[in-house]
Amino acid sequence: MADTAASLPPTAPASALRRLLRRKLALFGLAIIVLVVGGAVCAPWIAPFAPDEQLFDGLTLFGEPLPPGGQFLMGTDLLGRDLFTRMLYGARTSLIIGVAANGVALVIGTLVGVLAGFRRGWLGALLMRFTDLMMAFPALLLAICLAAIFQPSLWIVAMVIALVNWVQTARVVYTETTSLAEREFVAAEKTLGASQARILFRHILPHLVPTLIVWGTLGISVTVLLEATLSFLGVGVQPPTPSWGNIIFENQTYFQAAPWLVFIPGAAILLLALAFNLVGDALRDVLDPTQRGND
């Protein structure tokens, strides 16, 4: 046993990355993420058109959008804009919403849930009652009101989404934290004289990672679609800024007449969420030392 121990790589993170890269599915997911992020960042160079350019030849004489193929890789939208270009630029918005807003929601949810679960005193009770209150509050209404009160811009929308979406995470994390707090190694830490903060951040948070990965990746599509709903209600990202979600919502009634306008962005959202999930799953396994050697 001792000899194998010596051969183990000395630093955990480096090896984690290497092991992550060994997984085919994770690689696939990572490739998609890189592709999307790359597309979003390099949009101005890749995109064949300007994102809000309403091309004269982008519509038929009857004002119909053009299907994919030919000059327009993914077809055009109802205003005769190139869908591929809009998908590229939309990736920026959707990444911000799906990753940043969802991430902030996850962080808020985790903090609230962990604090409430770990500090069972009045603070915990207060936080949980607040969570209950937020849960009872119709999320969409809150989003609409907040977005209407503050002028909707991408970052406001992202914050609104974060403020609305943390509740479920908080609930789940709370439950999990309470059970983690009962675990014996937490008691062991206490006998070592570890501070609450240390127990919380060093010993409880890492165990929440699998849960957070599941909720975080599922949250991507949820938040991206929520942004779209908000756009639809007029309190989302303002046109002509494209986002994958609002491309869907703008065109959803046309799903028969112009299916590409709904299914292409739909597939993109799905793929992005899936990619994050694949990477997340792999990351979870890789970060979980008990899974070592199983890959």
């Binding site: 209950d132 209150l133 009872a136 119709p138 209404l141 009160i149 439950t175 599509s221 959803q252 009634t253």
Partner: protein, 306 residues
């Protein structure tokens, strides 16, 4: 038990109070004037002032809130600004439909979600499992409007199995409930899968198998009740998520629920209706959570309500 219930009810009442105040406040600061909506485009300034005074909208926030609250306590939710009808009448007329749809949606998502979750857990690690989990992602990511129209088109228009929208019979309920349930089924299948995988590892499952029980019985009688426990708490949370979906689904299927009422009210700042729908849905959520908590001891005898 009685003590627990009383405490929870008081807690719920406080939560509802909080919800009512926040909503009221948000609507108050909302940059849209309901009086303009009522007065219409040909109104004179005098008419506008008259209406504002008539509705008491010229009073300070706290006075307005207090008035609303005292009314609410007496069961008076006010009158719709635009429909001039008692909000309670409007909601009462539509609530049963929404509750039915919600129940249908929950039933659907549980049925689909749990089944998929169980199957995935049983076949964990195999292609079927992976396929199902991708499916669950599709379900979560699919916009409800499109799903609804798609289902309608295929099953009602093309195949003619169900009526094209409407309300009344069980056949009417199926498509809207499925549409509403599909998104949740994605969540549930994932949660059920992990919960089930965990339960299937437990000693008592081995015991059950050692008794010579059939696979189905082991799964349904022994694993399911245990695996479903963490999920029950989720159903309470779900009601809140449903309130959003209900707007879309109701409009696609012409379902006469409160979603449409709320939607129109929000569009036109019909504050009494918005307040009413908010309060009703908040009550539904709070009661749903309470119910979920009350149910768990029946499934898990170890849990004692305190």
């Amino acid at each position: 038990m009685l003590g627990y219930l009383t405490r929870r009810l008081i807690q719920s009442a406080l939560i509802l109070l909080g919800v009512s105040f926040i909503t009221f406040l948000l609507l108050y600061v909302l940059p849209a004037d309901p009086v303009r909506q009522i007065a219409g485009r040909s109104a004179t300034a005098q008419t506008v002032e008259n209406i504002r005074h008539q509705l008491g909208l010229d009073q300070p926030l706290m006075v307005q809130y207090w008035r609303y609250l005292t009314g609410l306590v007496q069961g008076d939710m006010g009158r719709s600004y635009l429909q001039k009808t008692e909000v309670s009448t409007l909601i009462a007329a539509r609530l049963p439909a929404s509750l039915l749809l919600m129940a249908g949606g929950i039933a659907c998502e549980l049925l689909i979600g749990l089944t998929l979750g169980i199957v995935a857990a049983v076949f964990r690690g195999r292609p079927l499992d992976q396929g199902l989990m991708v499916t669950s992602f599709v379900a979560v990511s699919a916009p409800q409007f499109v799903v609804g129209l798609l289902l309608l088109y295929v099953f009602a228009v093309q195949l003619g199995w169900f009526p094209i929208g409407g309300y009344g019979t069980f056949a009417h309920l199926v498509l809207p409930a499925v549409t509403l349930g599909i998104m949740g089924s994605g969540w549930y299948s994932r949660m059920m899968r992990s919960s089930m995988v965990e339960v299937l590892r437990q000693d008592y499952i081995r015991t059950a198998r050692a008794k010579g029980l059939t696979r189905g019985r082991v799964l349904l009688r022994h694993a399911l009740p245990n695996a479903i426990l963490p999920i029950i708490a989720m159903i309470g949370i779900d009601i809140g998520i449903f309130m959003g979906g209900i707007v879309v689904v109701e409009s696609v299927f012409g379902w006469p629920g409160i979603g449409q009422l709320a939607w129109q009210a929000i569009q036109r700042v019909d504050i009494p209706i918005i307040m009413g729908v908010t309060m009703v849905s908040a009550t539904a959520i709070v009661l749903g959570n309470l119910l979920a908590d009350l149910i768990t001891p029946f499934i898990d005898p170890r849990i004692k309500l305190r």
